[in-house]
Structures are given as structure tokens and as C-alpha cells.
């Protein structure tokens, strides 16, 4: 059993609880060990039909013609479905929250943009009959040049991948081709830094590889509706997406799920439900659309490969005074959720460290590969890989222990973050201390005495002058619970504070928490339109 360090932050908790905190047996464990937990496919239907997809063999090609006559006549085939049969054959997942343009067809009609893109669906009385019918379909393609590298895709004259975003980047706020973060003046700070580290990191795409592949069964119900048993991770998200693609009112669909054989982010994209429902409508029979393992592995969306450049400006005493990040998310041929990954990445920069000058540009880029989507750690995993390798390189460059280097730069309560929000509820330092103790990783005394609750504050953001002092010792154990300050969302600071302005003298004692702002206070920033382009209704 893991070790619960109840002693740390005890003054901020009330541990007098009855059910919370107990290692209670899972509600579903008995079902799991008896094989009775019901996943979407654990429902039997008389006359179940099977839907299989014919997929593009080309990364980029024009479709000249499709001849499915032989397939339509093949034994067991009940229906062939083409793009023209899909009521709304262009969608993007986040249209449900008004983010982005519809860019992806359920079945391609004129162009295919990744190897594996669905072109034709066959519905038959058995999987075998469906697969044999697929082999009888003749599609004539005219291959086109393709682009696979994110930086190549951004060069002028690159192959245009996605018709809705012809320059191969998602459009934010109808104005920018990337997410931006600007805090302080990173370029000026680099000029002052003792050491500059400029590095490149590359993540591989990753397969979610849940043991249960994506799948759903659409069943005509007794009341004109359709029941859909589904492996989705987001019930209404999938229901509303399927309703939009099928041009059906949402209450015509009855989605049932909730017990899923692993997801990790790969079961949000609603890959199987829309066509399963359409097939059930067209045939009047229950239809299962299930991805094979090969399909799941190569054509079910992966975590997109991310390429990240990180430039740090570091002082000899170990302070990072500037961090600049340029990141590219490989969205593949269509947007799905990658537009959002870039925002999440921008939101995570520069990591859990207080750095007074931060600049970032994060791109969502289209290439001719399987569209990417969310995966465990979405937008953050790759960045953390880059940041934490970079921290190690920085430690080596200044000749400091890697853990102490991180603790020196760690954010604390009251620090100003690059997104112009006050850091609160921090605990990086304490995690480092506990892990070091467990692993017998030696730390100097001053680092063992550090605390997330002290040493932070307004003056650290203005140039970090008080970092040159020895870190403040941890306070004596509190005799009363520390006040829990609500999120402060405005911050008065001098306009355009460059890294070089003389910082105000640090106080002798930690400054008191800032005055509580009422919860409804406005941001310091002017009210730009929301990230979704239009205000949410």
C-alpha cells in the first residue's frame, strides 16, 4: 500500500471523515472478476448486422470513382453506405462547443487525406461477409503529394492538407495561426543570461491500445428511437455528435455505456456511433460497428507526435530568468481535439516554475497522417518530457544538483504565473522533499527546509531579486489553519516590467496575502472573445 503522508499540510485539512479516505472495495470489482461486467458488446441481438469500412490506401489522393456494384450483390450484404448517404457529412468534434470549423467527413467523397481514411461502409450479416464484400469494391484514386513533417507543412508552398485550414494550421480567434504566451520580455532576458540552452525534443505518436477496441451497437427501439450501446468516454458528447451527423433530434438517441474496457482518451472521438446509427436507420436492424485491432492501432486516433523547442536563459546561481517555447502538435489530417491540445500546452508553459520572462508559440499543424486526438496527459505529457529534460540540462550547465535546481525555481504560493494568475495551493517543493527522502537523494539543509507556503510573492515576478538570498526557512508549525485565499485574478504591476528594472526591496517577513477579491471581479485583461471564437450562449 502506498504511504499516506498525512503529516504534511495537515493544518489545511479536516481528516475527520467516515467514508472518504477509506480503501473501500470498488463497486464494479465483483463484476470484473466474474466476467459479468457488461461492456458495450455484451448484448446479443437476433439478426445483428456488421459494419465494416473500406479505407484509403493512400496518404493523399483524389477519388476518381467508386464501383461498389459487385459488393452490393455479394452474399450477406444488406447495404452499402457512401458519403452522399450521410445526412451531415462534414463535422468537427468541438463544433458542439463552437470551437473550430467542420472539416472531417464520415465517409470521404472527393479527397482522402490520410492512409486509412474511411471511404465506403458495408453492412452485412456477418463480419466475414462484410470483409469479403469490401474486397470487391473498386476505388480509383489519383495519388497526390503528401506532407508528413510538421515544420515542412508550415513552409510556404507546402502541400495543403485540410480544405478548411489551407495553410495547415488551425485558426485561433479568426486571427492567429497559433497560440501565444507573452509574459515579461524573454528576448531581453536571454541577452542578460549567463547561460542559454536551446534544445529540441520530439515525442512519438502513441497508441492508446485499450484492451477493448472502439465500438458501438445501434439498435432500433420499439418507440422509433435508437438505442446505442457504446464504448465512448463521453456519453452526451458522442450522442450529440451522432445526432448532428445523422441530422436527428438528440432525444431520438438513447445512449447506454459507462463500463468501458480502457479509454485513455481514445474513445472520445465518436468513431463508430454515427455510421452504426445510420446503418440501423437504413436497414431497420441492429448494427455493430467495431474496430479491429489493426484499425484501432493504425486508424484510431493516436496521441499526436509533438515537436518542442525550449530555450532557457539561466543565471550562474541557478535562477532561470527566461524560457521560450515553440511547440508543434501534429494533428494529422483533421482537427478532432488537437486544436485544444495546443491551448492546453500553452496553458502549461513554463511548467511549475516561477520564471519572470516567458514566451511561447504553440501550433496545431495538419499533416497527411491519421488524425490525432486526446491521450492521457493531453497537451502536457510531451511538454513535461521536454521541460524536465531541459531542467536536467540546466542543472548540469550551472553545476547544481538536479533536484535542488528544480526546487530553487519551483513556484510557490503567491508567485505570479506566466498566465498572470497568482500561484496557490502549490506543493512541488514538498513532493521533491518527500521523494528525495524516500530515495536517499541528498539535499542541502536549506532545501530540506523550503516550503511552498513561504518565499513566494509579488517581488519574485518583477525580476527575482529575492532569489539571490538564501531561501527562507520554513515557518514554525501553524497554530491556526492557514487562510485559504480565493483565486486572485487581477494583479497590479507596473506596465511592461522588463527583467532589468530595479526590483523593489524584498520585505523582511513574508508579505500578507493580498486582499481578497470578490469572486466576480473582472480580469486584468481586456475582454477578448473567448477561445471558442464566439461567446458561449
Amino acid at each position: 500500500m502506498l504511504e499516506l503522508r498525512k503529516d504534511i499540510f495537515a493544518d489545511e485539512r479536516d481528516d475527520n471523515l467516515k467514508e472518504v479516505g477509506k480503501p473501500t472495495q470498488r463497486q464494479d470489482m465483483l463484476g470484473h472478476v466474474t466476467g459479468t461486467s457488461a461492456y458495450y458488446d455484451d448484448h446479443r441481438f437476433a439478426n445483428l448486422l456488421h459494419l465494416k469500412i473500406l479505407r484509403s490506401p493512400h496518404a493523399h489522393a483524389r477519388i476518381r470513382s467508386i464501383d461498389d456494384a459487385a459488393a452490393a450483390r455479394a452474399p450477406g450484404v444488406k447495404r452499402i453506405i457512401r458519403g452522399a448517404d450521410v445526412p451531415v457529412n462534414l463535422n468537427t468534434l468541438l463544433s458542439l462547443i463552437q470551437f473550430g470549423k467542420d472539416d472531417e467527413p464520415s465517409l470521404a467523397t472527393d479527397v482522402v487525406r490520410y492512409k486509412g481514411e474511411p471511404v465506403v461502409a458495408v453492412v452485412a450479416t456477418s463480419e466475414r461477409a462484410a470483409l469479403e464484400a469490401l474486397a470487391l469494391i473498386r476505388v480509383s484514386y489519383e495519388p497526390l503529394p503528401a506532407v508528413f513533417d510538421v515544420e515542412e507543412a508550415l513552409k510556404p508552398g507546402a502541400v495543403s492538407v485540410n480544405a478548411a485550414y489551407p495553410k495547415n494550421t488551425f485558426e485561433y480567434y479568426n486571427k492567429y495561426d497559433h497560440q501565444k504566451l507573452r509574459f515579461g520580455d524573454a528576448d531581453a532576458a536571454f541577452a542578460q543570461a549567463d547561460i542559454v540552452l536551446d534544445e529540441r525534443y520530439q515525442m512519438s505518436p502513441i497508441e492508446h491500445a485499450p484492451t477493448e477496441t472502439n465500438g458501438s451497437i445501434a439498435v432500433p427501439d420499439t418507440n422509433g428511437r435508437f438505442i446505442v450501446y457504446t464504448s465512448t468516454q463521453a456519453l452526451f458528447f458522442s450522442l450529440d455528435t451522432a445526432a448532428k451527423i445523422n441530422a436527428m433530434p438528440s432525444n431520438q438517441l438513447h445512449f447506454i455505456g459507462g463500463t468501458v474496457g480502457g479509454g485513455f482518451g481514445g474513445k472520445v472521438d465518436t468513431l463508430t456511433e454515427p455510421l452504426a446509427i445510420l446503418a440501423a436507420r437504413l436497414t431497420g436492424a441492429p448494427v455493430r460497428h467495431r474496430l479491429s485491432r489493426h484499425e484501432e492501432m493504425q486508424f484510431g486516433s493516436p496521441r499526436g507526435g509533438e515537436r518542442i523547442y525550449i530555450k532557457d536563459g539561466i543565471m550562474r546561481d541557478g535562477r532561470i530568468i527566461a524560457r521560450k517555447v515553440r511547440a508543434y502538435f501534429d494533428s494529422g489530417a483533421y482537427t478532432r481535439l488537437s486544436s485544444y491540445a495546443a491551448v492546453k500546452c500553452a496553458a502549461h508553459i513554463p511548467g511549475p516554475y516561477t520564471i519572470p520572462n516567458v514566451s511561447a508559440d504553440v501550433y496545431c499543424v495538419y499533416t497527411n497522417r491519421t488524425p490525432a486526438t486526446a491521450m492521457r496527459g493531453f497537451g502536457v505529457t510531451a511538454l513535461d518530457f521536454g521541460l524536465e529534460c531541459q531542467m536536467d540540462k540546466g542543472a548540469v550547465a550551472v553545476g547544481m544538483d538536479p533536484l535542488e535546481y528544480r526546487m530553487l525555481n519551483a513556484y510557490r504560493d503567491g508567485d505570479m504565473k506566466a498566465h498572470r494568475r497568482e500561484a496557490k495551493n502549490c506543493a512541488l517543493i514538498e513532493c521533491a522533499q518527500v521523494a528525495a527522502e524516500k530515495a536517499s537523494w541528498p539535499l542541502r539543509d536549506e532545501f530540506r527546509r523550503m516550503s511552498s507556503r513561504t518565499g513566494g510573492g509579488v517581488q519574485r515576478a518583477g525580476g527575482g531579486a529575492d532569489r539571490t538570498r538564501a531561501p527562507a526557512p520554513a515557518p514554525a508549525p501553524a497554530t491556526r489553519p492557514a487562510p485559504v485565499t480565493p483565486q486572485r485574478v487581477s494583479y497590479e504591476r507596473p506596465a511592461a516590467a522588463p527583467a532589468q528594472s530595479a526590483p523593489p526591496p524584498p520585505p523582511r517577513t513574508p508579505s500578507p496575502p493580498p486582499a481578497v477579491q470578490p469572486a466576480g471581479s473582472t480580469h486584468g485583461a481586456p475582454r477578448f472573445s473567448s477561445v471558442f471564437g464566439t461567446r458561449r450562449r
Binding site: P23, T24, H523
Partner: protein, 343 residues
């Protein structure tokens, strides 16, 4: 030819919930005629324990034993809207929605009990074992069962509640990136110890030691499940997995698990975990959520440990034996990159 040991560290934080907020979840809680409760959700259990965590949170809030609560999910006809299980939002968002619904149900329950006992609701407390009693006078009590019967058949009250939790959607300044990404963050520090074979390039992860700060461990066993399973996945990302081994070249993509590699039960290592709890002011009982962050620190910790062991930096994942051997060759051999301090 030799095996070299090294240690590497990573420290991270993780935002809880969908970035920028705007991701609501709702819950409904109601009592049956004999005082047993159902939580109706449309939230999804992927294995992370959604049904179990929400059950405990509901029982705690209602003040009844967990055996008297069951979670029913997911059905779009009966479960109210939940944005979904992703972004480490389940415990925080759905947990909060369940708390709100359970609080409303509890308030009705206490009112009904007060009417039966002829006291003020403020004078009553739940004993957590199925009874409601007068504070300071526990002999004056009534079972939850009897309260439920009285409420429904005599008083005409419905012991039920509705809850929604929403972090309001944050604006983003497109020029500066000013935004409120999340209301709380979890934290972790992980130290990985590896052994690198400089003849084969193979990396064996020997041990992991970590500290995770999660706000509140609603169920320590479920937390342990996530942290052990997640760090396995992190090791897998770092050293094994890729559907495009020659990325950005798309050739030779694996088609099955013989070609898509992941570590097996013989490749795992001991993992010594500590959990810290600094409650999030807006978390259910302070809880944040470990679902995604558990894998993240392993990737760089292993890369850093490899550098410590043999002195090469591999900045492209996965770190395969081939990449290590090429790097060692370019470097002219392996040499542990000892850092300025004694270990």
C-alpha cells in the same frame, strides 16, 4: 561491455479538469422507499474508478454508510449531462456535482427526521451507520430507513437532490495568453533508477520512487491503482511504444501487439509511492485527480537517468536500444555523467 546504473528525477504539476473550464457535470441523488440511495450519472467508468469514488463522496455527504449508496451510470435517458471522463476531471467535477446533489438530498432527509423527532433540523446529526440522532442525546434517534418511509408516505417529501458543478469558462487573451487554465493543480516528483547495457543498448528500469500530491485521496487503493498503472504506462511511452517507428516517415507501422511493444509483467519494477494531500479549495473534500499525471514524470525521469548512467541524451521518444547505441558510438563510449554533488 558493461551495465551502468543511473538515477534521474522529474518534478511536474498537472491541471485538473478541462483546460479553461466550461466543462459541467451534473448528478441526481435520490432515496428509495427504505432509505437506500442511488446516484444517477452519465459519467463513464473507464477503469479509473468513477463509480466507486462518486459512491464514497455521496455516502460521506449524506452521512450514510457506503453500502447504502449505489451509482448508476451511464444512460442518457436517466443520467444528467456530464462532459465526459477525460482531462483528470472526474473526481473533481463529477465529485463536486454529486456532493451538491447529496447535500440537497441530505437537507430534505434531516428536515423529515426533525419532523419525526419533533426537533429542529439543526439539532440533528447522522451517525454514519444508518441512523440520525439528536446531537448530544444519541438515544433519541431514528433510522434513515424510517425517515425515508415517513418522508414519502406520511410527509409527502422527496428525499432527493440535484447537483451541477461548473468552472466558468475562462477567456484567453490571444496576444498575451492570459487565461485561467485551471482552478487547482496536482503535483509529483519521481525518481527513476535504471541500468543501461552499453553493448545491447537495453534499458532496465530498476526502481521508481515518487511523491504525488493529490489534494485528497478519496480512496487510497484507487489512487494506488492509478499511480502504479500510470507509471507503467509512462515507462512504456519512454522506452517502448510507437505506432510510427520512423516518425515522421510513416512506414513500418505496427498492426498488432507483436509489433507494438509494451513492457510485460517481467519488465516491471518496484515503485515506492508516497501521497501528499494539500486540499484544493474547490475540490470535493479537497480532491484533485491523479488519472493523467501519473505517467508524465516517468518519461523525463528515465531519460535523465539514462544520461546519469551512460552520459548520452536521447531527446526523441521512444528511447530504443538502437538510439542509445548510436548515441554511445557518437560519444565514443559510455561514461556515467556524475553531477557535481555526491549521491
Amino acid at each position: 561491455m558493461a551495465k551502468h546504473r543511473g538515477r534521474g528525477v522529474a518534478t511536474i504539476n498537472y491541471p485538473i479538469g478541462m483546460n479553461l473550464g466550461g466543462d459541467p457535470s451534473q448528478a441526481l441523488v435520490h432515496s428509495n422507499p427504505t432509505g437506500k440511495f442511488t446516484v444517477a450519472l452519465s459519467s463513464i467508468d473507464l477503469g479509473q474508478g468513477m463509480k466507486s469514488v462518486t459512491r464514497q463522496i455521496c455516502a460521506e455527504t449524506l452521512g450514510v454508510p457506503v453500502e447504502d449508496v449505489y451509482v448508476d451510470t451511464a444512460d442518457s435517458d436517466t443520467g444528467p449531462h456530464c462532459m465526459g471522463s477525460f482531462a483528470s476531471r472526474g473526481t473533481h467535477r463529477v465529485g463536486n456535482a454529486v456532493m451538491a446533489a447529496a447535500r440537497e438530498a441530505r437537507a430534505v432527509m434531516m428536515e423529515a427526521a426533525a419532523e419525526e423527532l419533533e426537533v429542529d433540523p439543526g439539532d440533528l446529526e447522522t451517525d454514519g451507520r444508518g441512523a440520525i440522532q439528536v446531537k448530544g442525546a444519541p438515544h433519541r434517534s431514528i433510522s434513515v430507513r424510517d425517515v425515508a418511509i415517513a418522508a414519502q408516505f406520511k410527509q409527502g417529501k422527496t428525499i432527493s437532490g440535484r447537483g451541477i458543478f461548473l468552472v466558468p469558462l475562462s477567456d484567453v487573451n490571444p496576444e498575451t495568453g492570459e487565461m485561467s487554465p485551471a482552478t487547482c493543480y496536482a503535483h509529483a516528483c519521481l525518481i527513476a533508477e535504471v541500468e543501461v547495457d552499453d553493448e545491447t543498448g537495453e534499458v532496465t528500469v530498476l526502481k521508481m520512487t515518487s511523491a504525488y500530491e493529490l489534494g485528497r485521496a478519496i480512496n487510497p487503493k484507487l489512487v494506488e491503482q492509478q499511480l502504479v498503472g500510470g507509471t507503467w504506462m509512462g515507462m512504456s511511452h519512454a522506452l517502448y511504444e510507437t505506432p510510427e517507428p520512423y516518425y515522421p516517415d510513416t512506414r513500418e507501422g505496427p498492426r498488432d501487439f507483436n509489433e507494438y511493444l509494451m513492457p510485460g509483467p517481467g519488465d516491471i519494477c518496484p515503485h515506492d509511492i508516497a501521497v501528499l494531500e494539500r486540499p484544493a479549495p474547490d475540490g470535493p473534500f479537497g480532491a484533485k485527480g491523479p488519472g493523467e499525471m501519473c505517467a508524465n514524470p516517468v518519461l523525463p525521469a528515465v531519460a535523465n537517468a539514462i544520461f546519469n548512467a551512460v552520459g548520452v541524451r536521447i531527446d526523441e521518444l521512444p528511447i530504443t536500444p538502437e538510439k542509445i547505441l548510436r548515441a554511445l558510438k557518437a560519444r565514443g563510449g559510455a561514461a556515467g555523467a556524475a553531477l557535481p554533488r555526491a549521491r
